[in-house]
Symmetry: C2
Subunit: 449 residues, 2 copies
């Protein structure tokens, strides 16, 4: 930690208020106090932590700051700051406090993906109206610089697709299921024991967290407002050990993907598709090798080609790093008397319903082992204009001693509606005992990523 301090001592400090002092807030407060000289040198003015709003005073904390900084009066605190850092999470009181901060002229830094995905426009509009910054790098993929590259570095390019693993908990679980053959229940238990998953794992396991991040990514990538409700969402609780094994037999691994891509409506108009679901990825795809609780995001742009960003997606220190990068940015803008680029929703592209989204399916069927079954099955696919890429047929002997067969079908790209209707129709065939597994397939098509 070095600084020449030149010219910074005489400069008026910028006042920073911190809302929340959990895992991330603690690291933010620690860094602001411990590395104060560095921040002063990088901003050109000292950053002064003027208060930390908490729910209860007097709690034991692993943080060496003046106890007088703690307050339960967040409403007052935000009116006295130049920069407000919100790491409370959730919708309220986070939203009201941020709006109040902006009304009073403060720039806001937040890690609150749930709020941004649910009601981002309210915040963006407030920031624009009051001429202040609203930064939220930490809301997606923790420490990985991702939103700034999308918003600024690629501002002269056209982003075609964002494909990412942005939920560490589910990636940890799927990785364990893949590498050790664990069941979903066992993997969840282990993730909870290690603190990766919450006692109520719904937000992670059912894809809400990944969907909120997909909404934020799509909004920035396509200059279009996309909210949580626009995102098609499927979690991983239906992923079975049999699915994992079937993926391995195809040279694939199952990942929970957040996918945002430019698309077209049925009548050819520009649109976007935003979805979260588990999918098979071929092992040679770069996202396939993302292990444990790491995050990684592929970004494909017309000019830049395929880019990948990789790193820790959560944790106190990594998330604090992203928050603090934003604090420095907002502080520099205040020093320079302006604000950074805001949110640009000029494109206003429609979000395609999942039924119209083009995707590929892997379908496993338990069928009777007799001539003509494959033809019958293939006929159902053809009837719905779904083209088959590969079929594998394997003979098995059932518990009843009768020979049966397993058919594994991988389709070419088709609309999700056509694919799901096909699966429904297959279930009705006499020769089909059951549909043993359905999984989307990504990362193998002509779009490259």
């Amino acid at each position: 930690m070095t600084t020449n301090g030149e010219g910074t001592t005489a400069v008026k400090p910028l006042k920073v208020a911190l809302l929340g002092c959990g895992v991330v807030g603690t690291e933010v407060a620690r860094a602001l106090t411990t590395n104060a000289a560095d921040f002063a040198a990088r901003v050109g003015a000292p950053l002064e932590l003027i208060g930390i709003a908490v729910r209860r005073l007097g709690r034991e904390r692993d943080l060496d700051v003046d106890p007088a900084l703690f307050t339960t009066d967040a409403e007052d605190l935000v009116t006295r700051a130049d920069i407000v850092v919100e790491v409370i999470g959730g919708i309220e009181p986070a939203r009201s406090l941020m709006l109040r901060a902006m009304e009073h002229g403060a720039g806001v830094v937040t890690a609150n993906k749930a709020l941004l995905a649910a009601d981002g426009p309210t915040l963006y509009e407030a920031a624009a109206r009051h001429g202040v910054d609203l930064y939220y790098e930490a809301s997606v993929a923790g420490a990985i610089p991702l939103l700034r590259p999308i918003r600024e570095s690629l501002a002269g390019d056209q982003i075609e697709r964002v494909l990412g693993i942005v939920n560490g908990t589910t990636n940890y679980m799927l990785d364990k299921m893949d590498s050790t053959g664990q069941s979903f229940a066992d993997a969840l238990e282990q993730a909870q024991a290690l603190g990766y998953a919450e006692a109520d794992p719904t937000a992670d396991v059912d894809g809400f967290d990944a969907a909120a991040k997909a909404a934020i990514l799509a909004s920035l990538a396509f200059h279009t407002r996309v909210s949580l409700d626009d995102v098609h969402r499927e979690g991983i609780s239906e992923v079975s050990s049999a699915d994992v094994l079937a993926a391995q037999q195809q040279g694939c691994v199952i990942k929970l993907l957040s996918i945002c891509e430019r698309s077209r409506t049925a009548d050819g108009a520009e649109a976007v598709s935003v979805r979260v679901h588990p999918a098979m990825l071929p092992l040679d795809h770069q996202l396939a090798s993302v292990r444990e609780a790491f995050n990684a995001v592929f970004v494909e742009a017309t000019g830049a080609g395929q880019l990948m960003f990789y790193g820790p997606g959560a944790g106190g220190q990594p998330t604090a790093s992203a928050v603090l990068g934003d604090v420095v940015a907002v502080a520099r803008h205040r020093r320079a008397g302006g604000r950074g680029p805001g949110e640009y929703a000029y494109a206003e592209l429609p979000v395609l319903p999942m039924a119209d989204t083009v995707t590929r399916y892997h379908v496993r069927l338990d069928v009777a082992d007799r001539p003509g079954v494959l033809a019958q099955v293939a006929g159902v696919f053809a009837a719905h204009d779904v083209s088959i890429e590969t079929v594998q047929q394997r003979q098995v002997t059932g518990d009843d001693g009768v020979d049966r067969a397993v058919l594994v079908v991988t389709t070419h790209a088709a609309t999700d509606a056509a694919l799901s209707t096909t699966v429904e129709e297959l279930q009705k065939l006499d020769s089909v005992d059951s549909v043993a597994g359905v999984m989307r397939v990504e990362g193998t098509d002509s779009r490259g990523a």
Copy 2:
């Protein structure tokens, strides 16, 4: 390409001058004219291409713009622009033109790594003096957003280490040598045939290009001015097929790495080490799987942990994407009446000489196959305080029918001076016929990356 155009037609356009119309310049000009509506929406004002400075007029170009835009009078052109894009390359006239542009109040975007590494401070100081932006994302790792994340996203963190493959030509060659067993000469010929390597490949093969990029990365990462002369540089022309094979036998691959890390002087003061050299990387290291002419950079920071950025490192369109991102940034700043964060050299850390840099060696020795040789060899390492991690001994029969042995030694970390003196001393031993190969080893130590 969509825009609502709202409020942008009445706004005064920002004038963009382009210096150079090669591969990158052509793509920049094409994008500015083809996607004008998008740029206007993202900037909040139209970007007007007012001229393209070229050496000769009347040349056939694959570019559909008004022929009147071309001029040979770059000196005049830069005085009429709000934003000057320099893609000529080389030291002069690029430097004089950029200085002139800044004197006249223009923001400058450049891809010129050679100039920045050779004489960056002259440009940084001019930008600060005239209160204008100087952006150069395209100078390192092509389209990969890397400088902005380092400069801005990680501004609240402390970067410990940057380890990257930033020269596509040499990565292509080393990849071919590794995957096909080609010699250096054959790999070079193939790279030239494919247009990856120049007729005079010195800048790539001898590491000048990678060293210039290392200087730029270290300057930004450590807030310290590092120039090309400060960078220890070794190219790949000495890398033999035998080295590649030896690396494979160790479960490694050879890559040309640009390495910037925080370090300590002998008396414990903070310092930085900046170097470019080929090194063995274990196959499970993420940079090991970077194939063909791709670039990838690891960044390790105290808070963020390990991040990786991956993508195309060169090419007209990817480089133009990075240039255009900078153009939008500079244009937004001009609209807002300010400039972005400048260069921060406040830390002024000394650059450690290579001799004092701590590294690890892989050494292959052809030795006599008799008792006591290993003890003799180990004694030389010990005499220079170099600790051995592993030794492998293999018996071979020479052309003369005499049994000899090959010793493969991997050391623990030691200063480069101690390691190179050790190798010199080994050469003098009677029992050592020759030092068959010496290669540094990276990515396996406790520092993690």
